[in-house]
């Protein structure tokens, strides 16, 4: 306690001398963020205790929206779908991104060229990706008949057993490039001397990967995983255009369920409650992942700087 007060006093006296820019420089960014992120965040909690059809008056309604949301079996289903998509897209994307990141971090020219092409999916909007895959996965005019492989000519988007995995695949197609870049940057920061020492000790490629690359990438793994997991709570547009949550409720995940409840069923109170659930899950997962890393994000960044 005594320590903190003495440091803050030191900080204040330094500021008076004029070292360091004014904190006012942060004010515009803070104002935008407060107005369009923090206040809506509070707003979503407030609205979850009201009933509102989106046009008329907002009326305080205690917990009836929450009661509706929590007793609706579609909510439970949406949570399960969200968890499944989160889980499967993580176990698909993380290893592929890690391996591709290590692969593209090496110096070879052809790998650098491949890295340039790997980025292309990031240029497409989710709507464009969804439309492209919708056409590509068509059982009559898409990939299956094109390659002459009947196994690929399934009703991918109409079969409720398959559709979830199709969605996971399309998500991976769109987002693996981004995480590849993150891992590529992480690998490039590993000092070469580590590998040289390992090679002198006679360690093979796989041993080096397991004993040097993986442990050294700890913080990169945490950053990427956090973005991946929290990001999967925002897969809205892709799935909205690709399947609209169907067939049935097979791909109606939480953000989509929120949108449809609010803007199609005009139940903004219930949709806000779903929004609160989304925020809580996202925050909880992010904190859990940071905790798994042992240190907080700031400390690791300062260390690297």
């Amino acid at each position: 306690m005594a320590l903190t007060t003495s440091t803050s006093r030191r900080v204040r006296s330094r500021q008076l001398v004029g070292s360091g820019p004014s904190a006012w420089l942060a004010a515009p960014a803070l104002a935008f963020f407060l107005l369009f992120a923090v206040i809506p965040l509070i707003g979503v909690v407030v609205l979850s205790f009201t009933s509102w059809d989106g046009l008329g008056e907002i009326r305080f309604d205690a917990v009836s929206s929450w009661a509706r949301v929590l007793t609706d079996p579609v909510t439970g289903n949406a949570l399960v779908v969200t968890a499944k998509i989160m889980f499967f897209s993580f176990i698909v994307q993380a290893p592929i991104s890690l391996l591709l990141g290590v692969f593209t971090a090496a110096g070879q020219k052809y790998r650098a060229a491949l890295a340039v092409l790997y980025f292309v999916p990031l240029l497409l909007s989710s709507a464009a990706v969804a439309i492209a895959f919708k056409a590509l996965l068509d059982p009559n005019f898409g990939l299956g008949p094109g390659l002459g492989l009947p196994a690929l000519a399934q009703d991918w988007l109409g079969n409720s057993d398959l559709v979830l995995f199709v969605v996971v695949f399309v998500i991976a197609w769109q987002f693996v490039p981004f995480h590849t870049l993150i891992y590529q940057g992480g690998v490039r920061q590993i000092p070469a001397s580590f590998y040289e020492a390992a090679q002198i000790d006679g360690a093979g490629r796989i041993q080096q990967f397991v004993n040097i690359t993986l442990p050294q990438l700890k913080y990169t793994v945490i950053t990427s995983s956090t973005l991946m997991v929290v990001g999967s709570l925002a897969y809205f547009d892709l799935i909205f255009v690709l399947t609209a949550g169907g067939p049935g409720y097979a791909t109606r995940l939480l953000p989509l369920h929120m949108y449809l409840t609010g803007f199609k069923a005009n139940d903004m109170g219930a949709a806000s409650a779903l929004g609160v659930i989304l925020v809580v899950i996202g925050l909880g997962l992010a904190l859990l992942l940071q905790r798994l890393g042992g240190k907080n994000r700031n400390a690791s960044q300062l260390e690297g700087a």
């Binding site: 369009f36 407030v46 491949l114 292309v120 709507a127 464009a128 956090t226 547009d237 929004g275």
Partner: protein, 299 residues
């Protein structure tokens, strides 16, 4: 000038050096990484196949689409689909997208840069609190707040205007921008600031004359990254706009899909047209973007 362009990207430079050594050793001592190479090319195939399909299909006429092999290029390529898309108000949607993107990326960069500069160079509890708030913003799925945003926009009589898309887009771009920019600003050596201070420079002047030129690559990277997000954004336009007059490209793809439904080649032509501007920017600035993003996130 040379030093200003080199300094902010120490990470890739420093890391690139060891690779040749590593490579010469590994290729000299043992077999090349066949499995890795195979995997790399396989992923390329997975990435390129859909892109290839979209491009060739957009050049087919409708009869050709139904009769020819879907994976073969058209025997008689046609640009009719592109003409059809262009005739359907594509230019207006394009301009809307441009206005929204420029209108949110430029102010977003400006306020984020000033905040990052204050956070890195300044002291005090207010700034560290602000920084933590922005970091928290990365962990929250901000889209969960669309309903209050919708309420605010309608109450402010901004529903169905481009400004309704611009304002929240600026706010949502701030956390990641501040994170990456402050990572780069930390690398600017303190001595440079001290020597400028001895010359009587104010903090405000140092921001523009020292910090900004030194982190220009990072600013460009963050700018392009935000541009990708805003240009491709779908949720805000879907919820905050309604009329064709304010429609942006991603939303227009979705409506084209409804209007042309069976005319798949035309729908795919609209996909190509909407992506083309970003592709051009990527071709021009790819080195900058890739090295900036790899360095920006891994610090």
């Amino acid at each position: 000038m040379a030093s200003t362009t080199q300094l902010p990207v120490p990470a890739p430079a420093q890391a690139r050096e060891p690779q040749p050594r590593l490579r010469s050793r590994s290729s000299g001592r043992r077999r090349p990484n066949l499995l890795g190479g195979l995997g790399g090319w396989l992923w390329l195939a997975i990435i390129i196949l859909p892109v290839y399909y979209v491009v060739i299909t957009s050049l087919k006429n409708q009869a050709g689409f139904f009769t020819s092999n879907p994976m073969l290029p058209p025997t008689e390529p046609t640009l009719d689909n592109y003409q059809l898309v262009l005739q359907n108000d594509f230019a207006r949607y394009f301009i809307n997208s441009l206005v929204v993107t420029v209108g949110s990326v430029v102010p977003g960069l400006l306020v984020s840069f000033m905040a990052a500069y204050a956070i890195v160079r300044g002291k005090g509890r207010f700034l560290s609190w602000t920084n933590n708030l922005f970091l928290l913003g990365l962990a929250i799925p901000l889209h969960a707040t669309i309903i209050p945003i919708y309420w605010m926009i309608t109450r402010a009589h901004m529903y169905d205007t481009l400004l309704a898309l611009i304002l929240p887009s600026i706010a949502f771009s701030i956390p990641i921008s501040v994170l990456i920019l402050s990572n780069f600003l930390r690398d600017v050596p303190n001595e440079l600031f001290e020597s400028m201070r001895l010359d009587g420079c104010s903090d405000w002047a140092m921001m523009w004359r020292l910090a900004l030129p030194m982190t220009k690559p990072a600013v460009v990277t963050v700018g392009i990254y935000n541009e990708l997000h805003v240009w491709n954004g779908f949720l805000f336009p879907l919820i905050l706009t309604q009329s064709p007059a304010t429609r942006v490209l991603p939303l227009s793809l979705w409506t084209f899909q409804g209007e042309f439904s069976v005319n798949i080649p035309a729908v795919l032509a609209s996909v190509v047209l909407a992506t083309l501007p970003l592709l051009v920017i990527y071709v021009v600035a790819r080195r900058q973007l890739l090295s900036g993003l790899t360095a920006g996130f891994s610090k």
